[in-house]
Symmetry: C2
Subunit: 922 residues, 2 copies
């Protein structure tokens, strides 16, 4: 609010609202994106920078400040604007030797939006402005009598203008079917039917002329207004439409998703029209300075002869490759630009080299060739997929184009993530058209056979079939089917729907809200457009982009390209300060994480080892321990459990030889471990030598109303000291034996769910005693280790100074800390999270990314107070946030020593930790 | 630690360790309690203060510093001590004209403990020190040949000394049955048997002489040591025993319960022996300057002719009243001191008047008359029960003896509490001897018939019988029976046992850990000592003191003495700054609380009104609302609910006419309201027009893993705005109608479970809309009210500044705030709380008294940040801590505006709030 008031004040007289570019000069430059928008700033740079001075059609940019002014002043413009626009028009006229509205030699212009950040397709464009009954004859003359071309341009203008300016900008938003554009298209279809032709291009000049008149009558009939026949009215109408489109439904929705502030506003670019459809010496195309699909350092693009930009988009004609490198299966027989217009290609090649060198990044460029003359219409940093981003970053460092710091900032964690999941082979995706599109809810690619129920998913996968579960939407009952499916596809639901949340949690490929799907459960089929797919049919999903393909497309496992990945990650390792550990509960996980670069284990949960593969003997004994009622029973169960515990701890410590391993003492609510099956209960009762009803009574007494805040963590250790004792014994003995074998192992004993220093006092007494006993047993002087605590209870954070007096390290358990700071049970958040995100009450799920304001403050308080008492306090995080890039940056900022995350997030964490260092430098 | 080191350092040479008193002079005075202990300081004051100079037997006090030194220096004394003791002894000898250890005219002394705070019966005393084979003949001569008296004194010395000094102080702690004292007693019993007599007093001088020799042989046999025959050895042995007793088992346990620091140490008082058993001109007695049982301003006490203090305690002879006022049923026929020794009585009467005026408080005094001479042995502030404390406080203000501030500090909240429960008539208690004693777990008194099971309790009370539930211990299954019982009595369990926790929660009379009870469930009887009580027998409990009486004692309802109570509480009202509100969910509760002095309602929980008496129609409709699936269903249920809501809110607002009423929007987990009975479910299904399986499905979908952190509070209002809407409508319309009727009502709408300001934004939009509609409907310009929030989620406290931007008041929901700050589910804390208290991990149950360190910091942060944004932010507390004295003091300190508590705690809160002001002044 305050900011816009400042803007308002500064909008004083003689303020510059219009920035001209063209003829080797420009008022603006690439750095002025906030004012000129991305497109305007890049046009100015290309046109005016001394090292570039590229052939850009002259034009001007109306600044984003005007947009702000427009919305703050009841959709009026600043007074000075008109004069500044007129002056800029004069400059264009001079350069182009044409005149806007001139009957003899008319100048035509385009009006395009251009926000600070690209919002593709979200805002409006009007082309061919300046064509009126007065200028049409002159235009025909100028094109050497190409009447058809001119009327074709005119009917495009009318269609766009009536839709964008007269209808949308006026705030009329009928259903698409009822919109003016659709009505005009129907007139055109009727005309083609009358003439018995199929394509627009088959209509001749006269047809188009008649059509234009029909269009104008229809417009008057429907919109009760004349299509303007004045060039200036057209221009201002276009400008107004662009500003109005900033607050159009689609744009607002897009900004909401992308997190673009509403008050940024858009700029408007008015630029001389150039035509790629003026004959066979004309063309239009798009290209990338490197291959955005794999990162190869090769000029890569496509073009269409005698066509306008929108024809390329429309997809009626297949574009040709610009050079042999760019050829694909579909277009390898078409003539390349390099062959058809070698001179132009050479110019373009030099320009793209210049641009990449100038911008020091891969560029996405648009060009038009009008009657043998090359024009550059746009250049911007090119989008790329994950593998390409990594390759370009590594290559450009080698080429000395960029520094390693820049390379790191060029790869986003989500791009790196693409390398860590199998993806649909980019080549195959290029050659196949998606049958529909939805929201990208879970990353990576997957192919499988369609099943329509969770039960079927389970059944089919038992038979070894790969399935994709397709549902209207999912609910908790589907979870088992979701787990076994290769991927999940839903017709309804948004990015926070059940399916999306679950899939993201698992890192599973998932597309939601694919609303073109019509699912017919009873007949086990789905309809999309005209396609009908049945149960068992193969489909392939690209969950990163939300694309659905028919059939089984080949997959591509980017993790296999480990050389490149390793090269990139070692750049990160040189920069980052945070150590990266992993959460691993088995020796197997530990080894996997080590392969990904983990430098220790930040969370080894003793109780999880019992869920391992193989024998369920240890789990049985754990249950027996839990169901014990007397200390004697419990001790006897613990004694049976001890060898398993020691063995697993030993193997994990050994797998992490040379690195520390944080071992968390038993934590979760005990009743979670109570078996549900009758047979298991019977067995347990027998083993405990009590009857089943007695056992059930014991099990019931373990149930809690709110187990998350119940008898768990250190509370167990306090009430049953023998549990702590046994664990400490397993840890120390395993360590002692490995040390004797020359291993470099370093256990860190972590006490969970602490809320007060006295709990640690109590436990340390027990642990210390076991330590002394172990030293004696192994005749050792010392077993290096630490004893510390999890900070996962809000109170613990507040009294961290007291806790640091006894705890040698802190590890933030941000899952629980978030639960208790918000009072959100993670298991129950489903009841309201979607509404909270939808109503913007929460910006994001606090279990995905640390809530820096609230939970973050507790973390800061804890570190601050803890280090006041113990300067060298080792601090890390072992909640699931440890693998979230934004959270990792936060962890770095607050001075943690390490983050710990699941094994497959370790590379993401290495990158994020490096980016954290660089972001903090900025 | 640091403190004791300082003490150590300061123990330099020539330090004064011994403080003399006697002969109208004293080295110390009443203010030196820390150094001299309570007893020593008061002896010095009585002996030496110019306005008192009372006849105190001369003596000296060895300071508490010596005790500290003793424990820090391997039980050795400072070098200077011996000399200072000797010097003090010389002074006594001079004054008494006797000599310690002198064969002709020996001085005898007593050695007594005296800690800073009274620890009755916990530490040791040795009397008659100085009797040896050398001094006995002289002593006999001095007593005019009273050989029997001297040998009786000697055998008392031997018994005490061997027990206290030779056995206990040596660290030998045999079972009582095996102890030396018991063995000597057995010898004495044998002697009585031999002589065919019954009482100790029937043994003659020769018997006693023989007995003393037998004693000494036995001691040598058992303890392998001679009983010392040297007066100095006896003295130092006694001194050492007192210091040693500071760390005796009983004393340590007592300090643990009473919260007395271990490092305070005790002083030792060495004082000339005077004897009340030197004939009929001798006597001993205890008295109070006012009646400690009811507060009457009358001298009150009892005495025994020819007796020693221990005889009074032993209870063999019935003491006589000192005056007619003190006479009771038991002793009204005995001669009063006033009659038997009128001169002495007059002296004593003047002394007690002096003492009360000097100390400005009721005094508890001990005196001895030795051969017609009065000696004052002790004076201290007298203990009193609740009614007496209040009466004395009010009276002394009227007498201008104390200020109203002092009066307030004289009554503890727990004393006031006695006035708020029926108690056993103090007179009746006096006249009945308890049959056993346990831990006082729930206050007040109760009489009822014994039942031995919760089921019987329920059955019998259905028949209109008053019952007391007697159990070994209780568990959650007994709760129903506990609820209907008048009181609960258990044989096992401590102050945090299940029975104790539950009873305290209800304010119900309860005694636990009454370990003399032998309960025989199968025969439905209990045995205590030699008594056998059966089911149906009446017993009476004093839960405040833990006393159990046989039969039905009369009760006394102190609340009926409302004049006195009101007088006292209006003193409090003049001092306190905090407003006192109440938590009331019905108009009936509101009226009750108003009677107790509530100045508004701090918590009116909308959903609780549905559990009222009478029709269960509203509850049914609430359930219907909860089980609705669509907005339409929900709206229709809400519409049916609306009239009930409005009616109850209106009646409550009206009951609080003139005061604010904080109305909390619906909060608890919805599934709590799902009915369990099949019939109710069916009815509900019918009303919702769905089948029962569908309804069960809906009910199941409402169940949560951790409902305390689930879909509740404001989260409901966000997901179902119509719920908020209906509530706001009920509140505003009720208010509008009352305002139109000239009532002064002021609702405060409270949004619960808020964690982020955006939740309030969201709800305020809805509430505001309803507000505008209501204004229109009632053609009003304004309906005065506030909209605020509960602060009960840790995160909310941290972002209180943001929340204060929209919330007009804060009310701390300390129940939930404690749950989430500690991660303690209140419903599940039973699993570990007892261990936590026992191991001193927690000092007290944080749900009873605010955890000032952790939860308190969050409260302070919230108030601080909230008031930074909104200076006049109204802040209160509505958790159950609002009725806890220590918590109320905290609330005052942190600057809250009010506390809110259950109606019957309002008087306690009024007192505590006043005490808070005074404590803060100190």
């Amino acid at each position: 609010m305050r900011k816009s008031q400042e803007v308002k004040k500064s909008l004083t007289k003689n303020r510059k609202y219009v920035y001209f570019f063209g003829g080797g000069k420009a008022d603006g430059n690439e750095k002025m994106k906030e004012l000129l928008g991305g497109k305007g700033a890049n046009l100015a740079e290309m046109a005016g920078h001394p090292k570039l001075r590229l052939p850009v059609p002259p034009g001007f940019t109306i600044t984003t400040e005007v947009c702000t002014y427009y919305y703050q002043n009841k959709k009026k413009y600043p007074k000075e604007l008109e004069e500044q626009v007129n002056t800029a028009l004069r400059k264009i006229e001079l350069l182009m030797n044409k005149k806007f509205g001139d009957p003899e030699n008319p100048l035509l212009v385009s009006v395009r939006s251009g926000a600070r950040k690209s919002m593709p397709g979200m805002m409006e464009t009007v082309l061919n402005i300046g064509l009126t009954s007065k200028t049409i004859p002159g235009m025909i003359k100028q094109t050497g009598g190409n009447t058809r071309f001119v009327y074709d341009a005119y009917r495009r203008l009318i269609m766009m203008y009536s839709d964008v300016v007269m209808e949308k900008a006026a705030g009329i938003e009928p259903e698409d079917e009822m919109g003016i554009r659709r009505q005009l298209e129907r007139l055109m279809d009727e005309m083609k039917e009358r003439k018995g032709v199929k394509n627009d291009t088959d209509l001749d000049a006269d047809d188009l002329k008649v059509l234009c008149e029909e269009f104008k009558s229809k417009i008057k009939e429907v919109l009760k207004k004349e299509f303007p026949d004045d060039h200036m009215e057209q221009l201002w109408g276009g400008i107004g439409a662009v500003f109005a489109s900033w607050n159009g439904k689609r744009a607002v929705a897009y900004r909401k998703i992308e997190g673009i502030p509403d008050d940024w506003g858009t700029a408007v670019n008015v630029q001389t029209m150039v035509f790629g459809n003026m004959g066979n010496d004309s063309a239009t195309g798009v290209a990338f300075t490197r291959n955005p699909g794999n990162g190869d350092n090769n000029f890569y693009g496509e073009y269409l002869v005698n066509a306008q930009g929108e024809d390329v988009v429309a997809g009626i004609r297949t574009p040709a490759p610009i050079n042999d490198y760019s050829a694909s299966e579909h277009n390898k027989n078409l003539v390349t630009l390099e062959k058809s217009m070698p001179e132009i290609y050479k110019q373009l090649f030099i320009i793209q080299k210049k641009l990449e060198k100038h911008y020091r990044d891969m560029q996405d460029i648009e060009f038009t060739i009008e009657k043998g003359k090359l024009y550059m219409l746009q250049c911007r940093v090119g989008k790329r997929n994950g593998p390409a981003a990594v390759k370009m970053a590594v290559d450009m460092v080698k080429e000395k184009l960029i520094t390693k710091e820049e390379a790191i900032m060029r790869v986003t964690p989500s791009q790196l993530d693409e390398l860590l999941h199998p993806i649909v082979d980019p080549k195959a995706e290029k050659e196949n058209k998606p049958i529909t599109k939805g929201l990208p809810a879970g990353p990576g690619g997957a192919a499988g056979m369609i099943v329509f129920s969770a039960n079927d998913a389970v059944e089919w996968s038992k038979q070894g079939k790969k399935v994709i579960l397709v549902r209207e939407e999912t609910n908790p009952e589907d979870v088992e089917g979701m787990r076994v499916a290769q991927a999940i596809l839903t017709a309804r639901g948004g990015m926070t729907s059940h399916a999306a949340l679950v899939a993201r949690g698992w890192g599973k490929c998932c597309i939601v809200g694919c609303d073109e799907l019509e699912i017919d459960y009873s007949n086990k089929k789905l309809v999309v457009g005209e396609k009908v797919l049945k149960e068992g049919d193969w489909i392939t999903l690209n969950g990163t982009k939300g694309l659905v393909y028919e059939g089984q497309l080949p997959m591509f496992d980017a993790t296999e390209e480990s050389t490149l990945l390793n090269e990139f990650l070692s750049l990160c390792d040189k920069i980052r300060k945070l150590k990266i550990r992993t959460n691993a509960d088995t020796p197997k996980d530990a080894k996997k994480a080590r392969f990904f670069g983990a430098e220790g284990i930040g969370l080894f949960r003793i109780e999880h080892m019992f869920y391992g593969e193989g024998s369920d003997e240890p789990l049985f004994k754990l249950r027996k321990m839990i169901m014990s009622k007397t200390e004697q029973e419990r001790r006897s169960a613990l004694n049976e459990l001890f060898p398993y515990m020691k063995k697993d701890i030993k193997a994990t410590l050994e797998a992490m030889d040379g690195y520390p391993v944080t071992i968390r003492l038993i934590d979760p609510p005990l009743h979670e471990f109570v078996p549900h099956e009758e047979s298991k209960l019977l067995e347990l009762a027998k083993s405990l030598n009590i009857d089943i009803s007695n056992l059930e009574k014991r099990a019931n007494s373990l149930r809690e109303s709110n187990p998350m805040m119940g008898h768990r963590g250190v509370r167990l250790g306090v009430t049953y000291p023998e549990i702590t004792e046994t664990q400490a014994k397993a840890i120390y003995e395993a360590t002692a034996e490995l040390l004797k074998n020359g291993k470099k192992v370093f256990p860190e004993i972590m006490i969970p769910v602490v809320c007060k220093e006295t709990e640690i006092f109590d436990q340390i007494k027990i642990i210390k005693k076991v330590y002394e006993e172990t030293l004696k047993k192994y005749a050792m002087k010392k077993i290096p280790h630490l004893v510390g605590t999890m900070i996962e209870i809000p109170r613990a954070a507040l009294v961290a100074n007291k806790i640091a007096e006894v705890a040698e390290f802190f590890s933030f358990g941000t899952n629980d800390l978030t639960q208790m700071s918000f009072g959100f049970s993670r298991d129950d958040i489903g009841g309201f999270l979607a509404d909270y995100l939808d109503k913007k009450i929460l910006k994001e799920d606090p279990f995905q990314s640390i809530d820096q304001e609230g939970v973050g403050e507790l973390i800061k308080i804890a570190i601050d107070r803890g280090r006041k008492i113990r300067k060298d306090l080792k601090v890390g995080i072992c909640g699931e946030h440890g693998g979230d890039p934004a959270s990792i940056i936060f962890c770095h900022k607050v001075g943690m020593n390490y983050v710990s995350c699941s094994p497959f997030r370790v590379p993401i964490a290495r990158l994020s930790a490096a980016r954290a260092v660089l972001e903090l430098k900025k």
